[in-house]
């Protein structure tokens, strides 16, 4: 049950290994890894800046979890989101959830992703070769 926002690279394999062995009695372990894409609408992405309002991001994530855990029964979760300056291929977000059955895990992970799209205070800017652009909500 951890929330981690960090500028350091997300080392997901190590994390998944520890998480899965810690939750040895869960029937289902689902993970989502979101990465910086190499391009957006054919524009090559050089780097991506991710900005965070950390106090609010943490507060809103906890709020989201509080609501969600009333409805969905899961056994453990881990939420990691990186910020700072990232390169294409690098990991932005890593979510893992352990649950007895898979159904709850899929609901949990997709709902958390929706919260990150709608409420949790991170902003992405893509830096191209000769320009840069803050992403809109729909991207």
């Amino acid at each position: 049950m951890k929330i981690i926002f960090q500028t350091e690279k997300l080392n997901v394999e190590e994390v998944l290994k520890n998480f899965a062995s810690k939750n040895n009695s869960s029937g289902s372990v689902i993970s989502f890894l979101g990465k910086v894409r190499p391009s957006n609408k054919k524009k090559k992405i050089k780097t991506m800046d991710i900005e965070i309002y950390e106090k609010m991001a943490l507060y809103q994530t906890k709020l989201a979890l509080k609501r969600l855990l009333k409805e969905v029964k899961i056994q453990d979760y881990l939420i990691m989101h990186r910020y700072g300056n990232l390169k294409p291929g690098e990991n932005i977000i890593f979510l893992v959830v352990a649950s007895e059955h898979r159904k709850e895990g899929f609901i949990f992970i997709q709902e958390i992703l929706l919260y990150f799209k709608k409420k949790i205070t991170f902003w992405k800017r893509e830096n191209y070769l000769d320009s840069s652009k803050w992403l809109d909500r729909q991207s």
């Binding site: 799209k117 409420k119 991170f122």
Partner: protein, 83 residues
């Protein structure tokens, strides 16, 4: 009161926070009006309020008519794009 700016709004204004003192019972809308007269950058940053989100003490507000006090932390930012 502490006022924070993020992402594009921060860029346009050219700084990440302000500290101002207000009278009791001021609305967020009043604060925005106050900020807009500082200079052209603020005016530009706040010109399209419907694309600006605002939080008070980390809670999203429903309306810019929300009242705030000197102890509150207010933030202005575009819709989030994380995940």
């Amino acid at each position: 009161m502490k006022i924070l700016y993020f992402a594009k709004i921060k860029e346009v204004i050219g700084k990440s926070e302000d500290s101002i003192t207000i009278n009791e019972q001021t609305t967020v809308k009043d604060i925005v009006e106050k900020l807009k007269v500082i200079n052209e950058s603020y005016k530009l940053a706040f010109q399209d309020l419907k694309n600006i989100k605002c939080s008070v003490n980390c809670n999203y507000i429903d309306s810019f008519q929300t009242k705030v006090t000197n102890n509150d932390e207010i933030a202005f930012f575009p819709p989030v794009t994380g995940g």
